[in-house]
């Protein structure tokens, strides 16, 4: 991880002894392990928390995220479901409505389409329709994104669908520390939270604080400070943007990389402040550009006071207007890669100040 980390300040500050103590509580682990640790810690802490999903027990889930949890918590709390996504979603909502804290895993976020009625028309709206007299504290976890050759029905980035629905919260963590801290917050949140994990991130490693470590939902983070341009990146695009920022730094350009982390609610203050500071904004996500969440971010910045500080039009980089192809080359072409981000950043810098 480069740039300011999401780690507690105690790691850096305090006496050497304190720093050492804090350091020992931070462990290098993968994104997938960080999710598992969050689930394990929360299940130990709160007996209402349980997991349900397809093949999450002995098998450990399609991406191995829940591997081993069944050994500690048993099949009651790590619950394998049949291949029934509508029932999975609705069942989790019903349990949440009546006192449990379910974490439901969709094997692929694409299959949330099958549970969409339950998520959008039921879970997101029950509280509102019931006059604020109910709570639906459920988390829907799902892997999203391309890059694994899984083709059109297993590779989409549909976060904008969910971000369009009042009543839902939408989180896309990009680092192991963030995924743990945000998952703990998501489970404790009294609202339905859509928790989207990029498949390629599962193997990324980074320092993760042990034990209690939460990150508030709705807080963006500047992953790397800079003054020449802002790159607002979502999910897998965060590490790519950071790599590009490192390359630009060698060329004497200081890019600021900002990760919104949560789309709904959106921390627009942090985004606007960065846009105002650098005057140049590049927004990058893997989701198809048309209707992608980048449009929303661009609109928020353009309609804020940051508008007057912009030295160039806001640039958006997103997925091509196509389903994700199987072919490896085509698949890479369909979504922004490091080189695309670099070129876009360069283009943005070339534009003449207004």
């Amino acid at each position: 991880m480069s740039g300011p980390s999401s780690l507690p300040t105690t790691v850096a500050a305090g006496t050497p002894q304190q720093a050492e103590a804090a350091q020992s509580q931070v462990q290098e682990m993968t994104y997938a392990e960080a999710i598992r640790e969050a689930l394990r810690e929360e299940m130990r802490r709160d007996p209402r928390v349980f997991l349900m999903g397809e093949d999450i027990g002995i098998y450990g889930g399609a991406f191995g995220v829940t591997y081993g949890l069944i050994d500690e918590f048993g099949e009651e709390r790590v619950r394998d479901t049949p291949i029934s996504e509508a029932a999975l979603a609705g069942c989790a909502i019903g349990a949440a409505l009546t006192g449990m804290r379910p974490v439901a895993e969709f094997q692929f976020s694409d299959f949330m389409a099958i549970g969409m009625d339950q998520i959008v028309n039921q879970g997101a709206k029950l509280r509102f329709m019931f006059g604020g007299k109910a709570q639906v504290p459920v988390v829907f976890r799902a892997p999203l994104g391309s890059g694994t050759g899984a083709a059109a029905q297993h590779s989409q980035s549909l976060e904008a669908w969910f971000a369009h629905v009042p009543g839902l919260k939408v989180v896309l963590p990009s680092t192991p520390a963030d995924v743990k801290g945000l998952l703990l917050s998501a489970i404790r949140d009294p609202n339905p939270v859509i928790f989207l994990e990029h498949k390629l991130l599962y193997r990324y490693k980074g320092p993760v604080p042990r034990g209690e470590w939460t990150i508030p939902i709705g807080q963006a983070e500047v992953k790397r400070p800079g003054k020449d341009l802002t790159i607002i990146a979502l999910s897998i695009m965060v590490p790519r943007a950071l790599a590009v920022a490192a390359r630009l730094a060698e060329e004497g350009i200081e890019a600021e990389v900002v990760d919104p982390r949560t789309l709904r609610p959106l921390d627009e203050e942090t985004l606007i402040a960065s846009a105002r500071k650098t005057g140049r904004v590049l927004i990058v996500h893997e989701a198809v550009l048309t209707g992608g969440f980048g449009g929303e971010i661009a609109a928020r910045i353009a309609s804020s006071e940051a508008f007057y500080y912009l030295d160039a039009p806001i640039l958006r980089l997103g997925g091509a207007e196509t389903p994700i192809p199987y072919n490896r080359t085509l698949e890479r072409r369909a979504t922004p890669q490091e080189e695309d981000i670099y070129q876009a950043a360069r283009r943005l810098l070339q534009r003449r100040p207004l």
Binding site: L97, R127, F130
Partner: protein, 324 residues
Amino acid sequence: MSEAVPALSPEQMRSLLQTMYRIRAFEEKVDELFMRGEVHGTTHLSIGEEATAAGALQALRPDDYITSTHRGHGHCISKGADLKLMMAELLGKETGYCRGRGGSMHIADVASGNLGANGVVGGGIPIATGVGLSIKMQGLDRVCLCFFGDGAANEGTFHESLNLASIWDLPVIFLCENNQYGMSMAVRKAMRCETIAQRAVAYGIPGERVDGNDVFAVYEAVSRAAARARSGQGPTLIEAVTYRYKGHSKSDQNRYRTRDEIRAWQERDPIKRLTAYLREHSLMTQEEIEREEAAAYQAIEEAYQFALASPEPDPDSLLEGVYA
């Protein structure tokens, strides 16, 4: 009516009659308010189906849960709802069960275990299944009664949920109100099976078909299913055969059925059958029955007056209740 003497006290029978009269009076009032344009949106009346709701809820305890449907006023009243708060909800008032945000199709009272009507056909079935899971995991002595229509029995959620509830032995009672039609689609056209109850075989659970206009038969079937659920033996599918007299919703022209058919079902009216039973067994006199009926209409009128006098929600409160 069922030949066997029902396991109900005379007071319980009178209470059933009261509930059924209240449902009918409520629905007639709503019908009238719609005609007069005092209630907007849409509504689905359950006149003719009162025995199913009343009989089913009589078999449950106050702390049991229900999930309801778009045709849910009867379920709500049978669950013991306050008529005033119900009527206020239909009029969109701040004092309504859902502060006027839900209306007829989303009326709920979570505190009393009514987990809501539903605007999506079959939408409540997975939720009820999850409630069953919640009950089981918390080790509670409760059941969840899931109402749905014959039309909903052809939604994927029905199949997914019954299977899930079955493999996990969840304390859920799936009660299908087969009123012969899903909007205009006759059951016999919508499915090849003879009955909906027989689908239970596919999920390895008991399925039972009862006369849904016989309040005692419904009571007994639901009592059996509740006992099964409470003893950890899992879900039951019950098909209550009944009929709605009014159109599907207010826009219905009744083109898909005949007057004769409606009349034939009215001969088997659930309230008439209960009052006949009560008279024949000298449990209530005609005069007492009429007093019960008048009291129901009176209660509905009071509820309406309460709703009329209630404040509208403050427009500035628009965003309240979206998030907890």
